[in-house]
Assembly symmetry: C2
Homo-oligomer: 357 residues x 2
Amino acid sequence: MQATIALLPGDGIGPEVVAEGVEVLKAVAERYGHSFSFSEGLIGGCAIDAHGTALPEATVEICQAADAVLLGAVGGPKWDDPKAKVRPEQGLLGIRKTLGLYANLRPVAVTPALASRSPLRPDLVEGVDMLVVRELTGGIYFGEKTSFYIRPDEEQAVDTCVYTTSEIERVVRRACELARGRRGKVTSVDKANVLETSRLWRRVASRVVAEEFPDIQLEHILVDACAMHLLRRPADFDVIVTENMFGDILTDEASMLAGSLGLLPSASLGKGKAGLYEPIHGSAPDIAGKGVANPLATILSVALLLRYSLGLNAEAEAVEKAVYATIDAGILTGDLAPAGQARSTKEVGAAVLERLG
Amino acid sequence: MQATIALLPGDGIGPEVVAEGVEVLKAVAERYGHSFSFSEGLIGGCAIDAHGTALPEATVEICQAADAVLLGAVGGPKWDDPKAKVRPEQGLLGIRKTLGLYANLRPVAVTPALASRSPLRPDLVEGVDMLVVRELTGGIYFGEKTSFYIRPDEEQAVDTCVYTTSEIERVVRRACELARGRRGKVTSVDKANVLETSRLWRRVASRVVAEEFPDIQLEHILVDACAMHLLRRPADFDVIVTENMFGDILTDEASMLAGSLGLLPSASLGKGKAGLYEPIHGSAPDIAGKGVANPLATILSVALLLRYSLGLNAEAEAVEKAVYATIDAGILTGDLAPAGQARSTKEVGAAVLERLG
Ligand SMILES: CC(C)[C@H](C(=O)O)[C@@H](O)C(=O)O
Ligand SMILES: CC(C)[C@H](C(=O)O)[C@@H](O)C(=O)O
């Protein structure tokens, strides 16, 4: 098949890990007879430096013209001033919203080889295999925000959290569809005992499942309880679906189950097949440019890209297998390797390519 | 000293655990020559059943007349209908707001005897001793809420998150004062890269510490990062201060470090000395009335009451020591005891009294 992939390397270690992702895409194309072409755009801090905005119009056009987007990471101390009008995250939030990527998928699976790196007891994380589906274009992230002085000494800031029936329906549907290909269980997370948006969330989730997914087992839990149960009974979860802010917090908590952020990919999907794929780790400015960043989360994001945007399931699985074989062979960057045995970003990338055949 | 203590046993296991707390208060009074009188009020589900409201006016009056309030828990399946106009939590939220209890203190310390019960690896939880200070009367909990149909099929729900300078100042000050009696470190948690209220939070926290607490070491972290760091480096935290919703999620996550909710007390404080004290666990309807609930979180809440509202530090420490001695002696309810060795609520309460002398 033919496909165009937009690359947004971003800041910090972004360019280094995206480079390894591209090598994997090229190898897949060659091995399976596909033709992938690449276009590159600026996003985040580097875009602010070049164009004064975190999301230049040209970048949006490149993404809209592509079949899928592979993103590295955005941000760094250089652009961290809280009073700044332009901030790197605006690029990320802007591209999610502009492309309508309402469902953010974050799988967390604990590989036996790395169970001992989890902060949780090995017996608890054994068998953990969950998929968090986070609503990504609504809620308090995108509601109206204001800040003003109500008296000379007294400032008031306001954020608004908004959800509508259709916004909840589509992401719950996506979660249920994904659960059908897994263990058939969906946990919907809200704060229905306090929030109006959560009461709507719960009502809509119940109705969608009752009307359209009678085969799915749905449970509702409160966000505070979920933060506990992720630690107490992590292996019980199959698919978790939740709103934007809760999803942000719970996915970062859940990511710790796997021991390292360096392994966790994500996919952000919208209405059609197009999607944006990125590792869930940040730009790690402290190790940027040193060639030591872990490329595996980006390579696993490439696997998700092949699966969800290009429909290339065999290719996706081959990439995932190659990654796990690399881990099992102990070829790891410093975040995962025992002291003195760390390999470079390029060495780990090459080891995956080798195992891809 | 003389003091009046309002008792709000509430629902589920609430009455059982509050009864043990009262025994401890009586023993302290006798041993140290104080005179405590008790008044009792309804709150939550039982108040709905009796008066049609979760927070009857009489209960508010009893609390306002008291030096401190000891609360059990509210809620249960009987009052769980999401469409109900009156819900048990309204009692809890209402009393917090009415009494102006803006600072919710939740200490999490891992006792060596129970480190093995934590879902985290024992080496990670060793030495964990943190105090989370959660803002309790502002934010999205108390902002305007609406829900309406924008089209026949499309409902829209809105929650509003509001913070003002003075609301942030007072809770940050309280956190800093508490940190002075500890390791002098405050971690302020927000989502300043997305929320306007968080940007205000961060600015105010920085200013308060710079102007009034130059001896305090302040760090700011994002809420998603905090959810990770609580698992990755829990022993690093001293005092954490955060807004209402983030505090709700993070304290429940942090509570898991200690292995059981059954041990964790909380204090909610306002301007004066009065405060509300409650275990952080819920009403546990599944075990209510069986005499098996763990009373230790309530008894430790009594210790906080003695310390913060009555200024009786020696008495507070004596209660805490008696609780830890009981744990070390292995006299535990079913949530903590090895199979077959569980003691009843009353037996555990009696063991604490015995160790109080
Ligand atoms: C950078 C930030 C705005 C972003 C978010 O909160 O969504 C990040 O934490 C994430 O989860 O992708
Ligand atoms: C019962 C509920 C409203 C409450 C809250 O969210 O504050 C509870 O979870 C708590 O933390 O005390």
